[in-house]
Symmetry: C2
């Protein structure tokens, strides 16, 4: 897997700097039980509003449960099916739209689930695994395939596996696999206490 | 600051295990420019749908811009104003409700912003700082105070600073500062490819 560390004005923690979203996975190599537990634990200990832990994850393992994995895979957008088939794990991140303790609407459901998924992806980096979040899927098909209740919103499907080289990919994706990562300048995303005044 | 590492079934990366949400900050000690840049860079390199980077952060620094900081602080809920006044930095995390490249609704705005904020809080841990996200604030007052456009949704105010001991806090908060962290069991949040069937 190419190393594509974030290009930053000052050093940041290497775990955060090294995370990116590869598309090339080793199709033959499962993710072991201990690694899967570590991914789940990392997500589990993310922060959440009122400690409500509004995230739910469906774990589809191609080796342990081929039919379950296939059901999730079939819901992916075509451009994701081009590469995600090699990933041994597909994790569906779902956000509770309500608080578990009260049933009232929870405006932080997706925000907190995003934090949990980021923890999970960073733990993947720590384990030498590759993780790639996808927004391209048929949410209604996924609901039917996995019996996701209406109250929960499927937010992402996360492909996880052992990384492979760019050579496994078709030419256009191979190019993206090795291209530098890009971000907007700090001054476009970080303001002083007044909107639009760059903080950096 | 008390150490409250996550209690996990298998080891996880120490950066993720050590993160928690303290309420006690050293009121005399600012967060330096280099540390602030590192916090922003960590958030900046989070993943996002289509790479749209839907997050915006307002940075209110009590030392560099007391009036800006005060304006944000005044919007916090009373229970947060009891302790957050010691924090030198208050960061307002806002989520774009639309894609920057198209103007179409972005259902991942809050999800991606939650990931960026988690990166920021983990970078705080790496720097020996304390970070605590709050959902308790008056969002409309915050919009007015900081000129946040209607298209963006304020999701959290993040208090950041150098940690102090629990002794600085009133008795009830001191107790929470030293209490163990709690999470729901894995089997309640992680399912197999079928909703409700525990994955662990």
């Amino acid at each position: 897997m190419p190393e594509k560390p974030a290009r930053t004005a000052v050093p940041i923690h290497e775990l955060i700097a090294r995370r990116w979203s590869p598309r090339s996975f080793d199709p033959e190599r499962p993710v072991g039980r201990e690694a899967l537990l570590a991914l789940m634990e990392a997500a589990r200990w993310a922060p959440s509003c009122y400690g409500d832990q509004p995230w739910r994850y469906l774990v589809a393992d191609r080796f342990a449960d081929p039919a379950g994995w296939e059901a999730v895979f079939a819901c992916l957008a075509e451009q994701n099916r081009r590469w995600a088939g090699a990933a041994p794990l597909l994790l569906v991140a779902c956000a509770d739209t309500r608080f578990g303790f009260s049933g009232e609407p929870n405006r932080w459901g997706a925000y907190d689930t995003g934090a949990a998924s980021e923890n999970l992806c960073l733990q993947a980096v720590a384990l030498g695994l590759a993780a790639h979040q996808m927004g391209g899927f048929d949410a209604e098909a996924l609901r039917r395939a996995c019996a996701i209740p209406p109250r929960f919103e499927p937010m992402a499907v996360i492909a996880v596996g052992h990384p492979a080289g760019p050579d496994r990919l078709p030419p256009d994706l191979r190019e993206r696999e090795t291209a530098p990562r890009e971000r907007r300048p700090l001054g476009e995303r970080f303001f002083r206490a007044r909107w639009g005044e760059p903080a950096a």
